[in-house]
Symmetry: C2
Subunit: 195 residues, 2 copies
DNA sequence: GGTCGCTATATCGCCTCGATATATCGAACG
DNA sequence: CGTTCGATATATCGAGGCGATATAGCGACC
């Protein structure tokens, strides 16, 4: 997940670690902040895997500024991570946010697919929460309040996504030529079963 | 955080690991699910620190059922963790949820204090998000949509908390005798400066 | 001229997580 | 009767995330 964010920023311009940390805070609107303990090991991994290249020097001592740039392999990896299916862990919320922050690099068709997968995930979660609310075993008022709030928040999230999807589809239909449009609609209709 | 949840469940009755994992999913309404990779090491730590005690046996081979029970030290630790000040990390949301699931073990006065600290944290976050929204540098429509959604969600959370606090205060004022009430109000007014 | 705070890289230990290994048990099936 | 399946139950592995902290050059300010 942090790899996706790093690659997304390096796609715009080469940067050094410290700068990446700041930008990650600003670009993503404080929605997520990385720690050095995650950042530097990730840079090592990415370089090891050939997704980024470093060119050190420029500055003495602690002012070294090891500048990292994205490679072709990195560009490929970026697009792969951007479309990756949801992993359904507890970090999935953050993962989705980071992905959406770089949506502009995906074609409208793929954007809609990612958004719909996310919505499906939330609908599953909503069903689960509702089931728990129906369970008469949970009598603790605070636990019920938590669940009810989770229900409301999830419903709001779903409504927001539905709106986004609608807007995205409209852009898509205006932009795409007729042939493209029909093929894309078929894809959209098919996706529910395959996911 | 997982320690708090384990202690909270063991407070009600002794349990073995597998049972704990199930209960954590049910009791907390699917708001959080623990993995074995977190559960068993945590049980080891808690036992090492004397917060829980295990009494193995009962069953042959893999059906051992190592039953864990909370100790006096565990009860002390539980209350300490339950009131612990916010750490402001990315896991703070989950931490708050787990804490609130065991609110019944805290006196109303302390509950209000925890809720208000949480609200203050969210207000800080809201201010940050709003600042980012005001920044004209962020032109990406998806990033702006994310921030605006974060704003709305945070505002909804704050409103929810405000409501909870109001209800909690009312319960408090009805329950507490006059002397208690005055002392408690002073504590509440003082808290902003000390935190 | 001292010290405060920002820039910058790096590492430590602890914890979390998903996956997986291992093994027992009851029920279901033919 | 055997066997196969799924639930119960404990445990560990490697990869990775996180907060704290170390180190050190640097400009600004009084």
């Amino acid at each position: 997940m942090i790899e996706l964010a790093i690659l997304g920023l390096l796609k715009e311009q080469p940067m050094h670690g410290y700068q990446l940390k700041r930008e990650l805070g600003e670009q993503l609107g404080g929605l997520w902040r990385v720690s050095y303990g995650s950042l530097y090991p990730s840079l090592r991994r990415l370089e090891r895997d050939g997704a980024i290249s470093s060119q050190g020097a420029a500055g003495t001592g602690a002012r070294r500024k090891t500048v990292y740039a994205i490679t072709d392999e990195g560009e490929r990896l970026f697009l792969e991570l951007l479309q990756e299916p949801p992993q359904e862990g507890q970090t999935e919320d953050t993962r989705f946010r980071v992905r959406m922050a770089f949506f502009r690099y995906l074609p409208p068709e793929t954007r809609v697919r990612v958004l719909e997968r996310r919505r499906q995930g939330l609908q599953d979660r909503l069903a689960e929460v509702k089931m728990h609310l129906r369970d008469p075993g949970t009598t603790d008022s605070y636990q019920r309040a938590l669940m009810d709030h989770a229900r409301a928040a999830t419903e709001a999230d779903i409504a927001w996504l539905t709106d986004l999807i609608r807007v995205e589809r409209r852009t898509f239909e205006i932009t795409a030529p007729v042939g493209e449009q029909r093929r894309a609609s078929a894809t959209l209709r098919r996706k529910e079963r395959t996911g």
